[in-house]
């Protein structure tokens, strides 16, 4: 059984990441109370398996556990309708992402960025697989390789999911802002 010294060492290494852990859980589960529970559970699990952490990227190690715990919860609650319905081919396309960026002029996108609530609402509409790579890249600044390790998918998949997340997000934001403008008229 772990002792006080183990706990202190664990806390020194991992507790500083609890904010990131909470935000990741919140991005994935979209419910503050549940996110809090998942982070607690993940920390207990992480402490149990702390001996398997051999130094290195502590945030990556911790967030991987948070991510897996959150996925388990999603699966258990059967709320993962977008997990089940998720289909790379359907949601993805064939790498024509860049063309989609072109169709938007900067003013459109920028005016779409007005409100934080709108951006978060748009993020919530992304499939959970996109949300997690997007979070790890944009918020945590993980490299493609680190994201691939945390999400257990090949690096190519990380890149395509990230790209699709960006395209979809821009589309949603532009749509939202257009709708807003139309309503204002």
């Amino acid at each position: 059984m772990a002792n006080k010294k183990d706990r202190q060492r664990f806390e020194r290494t991992m507790l500083v990441h609890h904010g990131a852990a909470y935000n990741l859980a919140l991005w994935l589960l979209r419910d503050p109370a549940e996110a809090e529970d998942i982070v607690q559970t993940a920390y207990m699990k992480a402490f149990e398996h702390f001996s398997s952490f051999c130094g290195g990227n502590a945030a990556g190690w911790m967030l991987t556990i948070v991510r897996n715990t959150a996925y388990n919860a999603l699966q258990k609650a059967k709320r993962n309708s977008n997990l089940i319905s998720f289909d790379e081919a359907l949601h993805g396309g064939d790498g024509s992402c860049q063309n989609s960026f072109n169709t938007m002029n900067p003013e459109d996108t920028l005016s779409a960025m007005e409100s934080g609530a709108q951006i978060m609402a748009a993020i919530e509409r992304l499939p959970v697989e996109y949300r997690e790579v997007f979070f790890l890249r944009e918020i945590e600044g993980f490299s493609y390789k680190e994201i691939a390790e945390a999400t257990q998918v090949p690096q190519g998949t990380v890149m395509s999911r990230l790209s699709r997340a960006r395209v979809q997000l821009q589309k949603i934001l532009v749509e939202q802002s257009k709708r807003k403008k139309a309503n204002a008229l």
Partner: protein, 255 residues
């Protein structure tokens, strides 16, 4: 290099994943291609906005909850630690915690002033977790828990199985509230303990139970049915506790 080929690499450039020489090529291309510059500009704007609004501060209580959970795992006495912090004194914590329990019980027994039932319910809930005395009869089987109360109370509490709704029966316990024996049923939902206190409705107390209350970080839901007073106490969030109350109330068979 053709524009199409560069476009494929813009995101990798944005994410700092290009090799140095590719990076240089990209910068050269961006300097003379408005189209690609606009794409990059859009991506940067998106990235900046998401960074700005994409995170919230974790609840202050989360850090404390994690730490106390870890202490429980090492057997360092999480609750005693909290009490010590709460009172701001460094007295030998286990001794002090038991003193608190003793003092509280003596005080309530002797005092002519009855403490507020809300506070008493919370105290009973906290006590149940503090002294490692959550249950007298530990079982997830309602047919084990219900008969255990026979002869200990002058009523027979309904014990419901709410497993399919995610509320797992942990066991039962005999408790005393306002000098009256009460049945305490213990449920667990995720990491949260829920105490369901059941007692005979006091005929002197004409006031109906208060419904929902939030105090000291705990949520309470109370109601009266068929001559019994029910109280749910937990640190579980209000929404789910209400859901549990509705489940219990709707499934309680009339006596």
């Amino acid at each position: 290099m053709p524009c199409e080929e560069m476009q494929q690499k813009i995101e990798a450039y944005l994410d700092g994943e290009l090799t140095l020489s590719d990076q240089r090529d990209m910068e050269e291309h961006l300097a003379q291609c408005n189209r690609c510059s606009a794409v990059l500009h859009n991506l940067r704007a998106l990235s900046a906005s998401v960074k700005k609004v994409g995170t919230v501060t974790a609840p202050i209580s989360l850090r404390r909850k994690i730490k106390s959970g870890l202490r429980e795992m090492t057997g360092e006495g999480a609750d005693a630690f909290n009490w010590r912090h709460l009172l701001g004194v460094g007295v030998g914590s286990a001794v002090f915690a038991s003193f608190c329990v003793w003092f509280f019980m003596t005080f309530t027994a002797l005092s002519p002033l009855q403490p507020q039932p809300t506070e008493e319910l919370i105290a009973a809930h906290v006590r149940s977790m503090m002294v490692s005395h959550l249950t007298d009869v530990a079982s997830s089987d309602k047919h084990t828990v219900k008969p255990w109360f026979n002869g200990k109370l002058d009523f027979s509490p309904s014990v419901l199985d709410l497993q399919e709704h995610g509320y797992q029966l942990v066991g039962g316990r005999l408790d005393y509230l306002q000098k009256q024996p009460v049945a305490a049923l213990v449920y667990k939902h995720r990491a949260h303990i829920i105490n369901v206190f059941i007692r005979r409705a006091d005929s002197a107390a004409t006031a109906k139970p208060a419904g929902y209350t939030h105090q000291q970080g705990y949520n309470l839901i109370r109601w009266r049915k068929d001559g019994l007073d029910y109280a749910l106490v937990s640190d579980l969030n209000e929404k789910e506790l209400r859901q549990m109350a509705v489940l219990l109330e709707s499934q309680l068979a009339p006596k």
